[in-house]
Symmetry: C2
Subunit: 323 residues, 2 copies
């Protein structure tokens, strides 16, 4: 049961109005003046202070549970800032208690390699959770990718590999997203972008874990995108002229964008994305792909991260190695 | 620091082999026989029992921290089953302690509407976390969607609305995904499917929260999908013949699929998906969209869920209501 403590009586009617629009809620509102309201289902009941107070006392959570619920909410919402007062109100305790709780959680989080709490002081301050994905996790992930990609059933035609299933597996997608994010300092990134279609699941999860908006660059005109910027470029592998387009509503000028994709060969597409972003007065903060080909060594772009390297098929074996 | 307790000496060399392939790990392995190994970086050091034991004692977590770390891992991985022994090994305690911890967490989780622990007994048993998204959360989400969709800047052409930004906002995407999942019993779903392109972020997050594989149905031939099933259908709004295609590797025969998309008008596409899935010997477990149009009332499919209803633009106002 969630408690909402109200300090000012003039806002109470508004709050009750807002609460009653929900269904099946059961929320208490009480004032310092001693008048209390409680909502059960669609009914609003007036309570005396005593009832409200005795309710309050029983709402206090044991310390292990309070710790668990605070860390749960923080870790379920990585990089989202929460005010200490939010937890104090939600779990019916003082801000200083929450502050002590967080300090103790933080002490153990780092030692156990379970994450980190980032605290900012001041009026706009608060706390947010940073997931941990260390070098040993990254190495294990790359080895798992190589193992899974070595299956010769994956060879489609020429030396193309079927790898979509990697992005369709929610556990592996989670690890690849955390792995790619571990290369970057998130304070230097405002958006996570990709090109339709195969990179979208990866970019979606990376954006979610980084708590940054997603940008999807499309390969053709789509009515529902609204006013868009178009850019043509020559595809380095086919020699064809291709188009990239992005909605003007999708990205703010002056922002920094992390571009992610499933696969990169010569980097022609990534380079075209870089040019497109420049036209929008935005900056490319980084390029990350799951798989990069060994050749060509000389690429249109230079600053990129990749999890595994693919060197084609030789003697019926898929040659793939951690980067 | 993570402790791995080994019961059988014959598996130790294997484990150390596995550990040493990682980098920067610092893991202890010790045996009941009193011989212990510790790995720091790439070195493996032999320790005496005393050292190992004193290390062990200092590794015991305080109860509030142990509770927090257990619930954190469970809630970060919704619907993924964990064995109790896993937590016992990881946090250096007994299985019965973990069992007691989980029972107490569960008691408070449900009252606080923070989720639920699903426990299965037996050799293959374990525990998994089910997120909570109640009717009051669903109502609040629908109202937020209506508020955000009422902005007249969204009108593109005719009565089309720009709504991609909803899926690009990680917080809203999380809520929409939880909201849609709250309609379904997950034990009846094996896959989460969508059609490229706009539904992919939503389907990706729903699949992640449900811990089910994702299936992306495409509108045209793509080389990298491998052997695929094609199906043509007549689009009810344009009268054009369109194609749907799905990789044979994407879905197992006999499974049940939840189809999700951003938007539905007459339901012609959803109906074509239903037919396509039937050809694959799979069953449509449900259809869910974020926005459905008010007209036509008679649709090609009947069993669907929608978060909001859109009734076009009248007198310059976007008419959108919670469903």
């Amino acid at each position: 049961m969630r408690l909402i403590r109200k300090e000012q009586s003039d806002r109470l009617s508004f709050m009750i109005g807002r609460l009653s629009r929900g269904v099946e809620t059961s929320v208490h509102c009480f004032l310092k003046t001693g008048v209390s309201w409680m909502q059960e289902g669609r009914r609003i009941i007036k309570l005396n202070t005593k009832t409200a107070d005795s309710k309050t006392a029983s709402e206090k959570l044991p310390k292990p549970i309070r710790y668990s619920f605070i860390l749960k909410e923080l870790s379920e919402n990585p990089y989202r800032q929460f005010r200490l007062q939010y937890f104090a109100d939600k779990w019916n305790t003082s801000k200083s208690t929450i502050s002590e709780d967080l300090a103790e959680i933080e002490r153990y989080l780092q030692t156990a390699r379970e994450g980190k709490l980032l605290t900012t002081a001041g009026a706009a301050g608060g706390v947010m959770f940073q997931p941990y994905f260390g070098p040993e996790d990254l190495q294990r992930l790359k080895e798992e990718l190589c193992r899974r990609l070595q299956d010769t059933d994956r060879i489609i035609v020429g030396d193309l590999l079927y790898m979509n299933d990697l992005f369709y597996d929610p556990n592996l997608l989670e690890k690849m997203s955390k792995g790619i994010l571990s290369y970057y300092d998130l304070s230097t990134i405002d958006y996570v972008a990709t090109i339709e279609t195969k990179g979208i699941p990866l970019a979606t999860r990376i954006a979610g874990l980084a708590n940054k908006p997603l940008v999807i660059i499309r390969k053709r005109t789509v009515l529902t995108e609204g006013t868009s910027l178009y850019k043509n470029y020559t595809d380095s592998s086919s020699g064809q002229i291709k188009t990239l387009t992005v909605s003007l509503k999708a990205v703010h000028r002056g922002s920094r964008v992390l571009f992610v994709d499933d696969f990169m060969r010569a980097g022609g597409t990534a380079n075209a994305v870089k040019d497109l972003l420049k036209e929008l007065d935005t900056e490319l903060a980084g390029i990350a792909v799951v798989m990069v080909t060994g050749a060509p060594r000389q690429r249109a772009i230079d600053n990129y991260q990749a999890l595994v390297e693919y060197d084609g098929v030789r003697d019926g074996k898929i040659r793939i190695t951690p980067r």
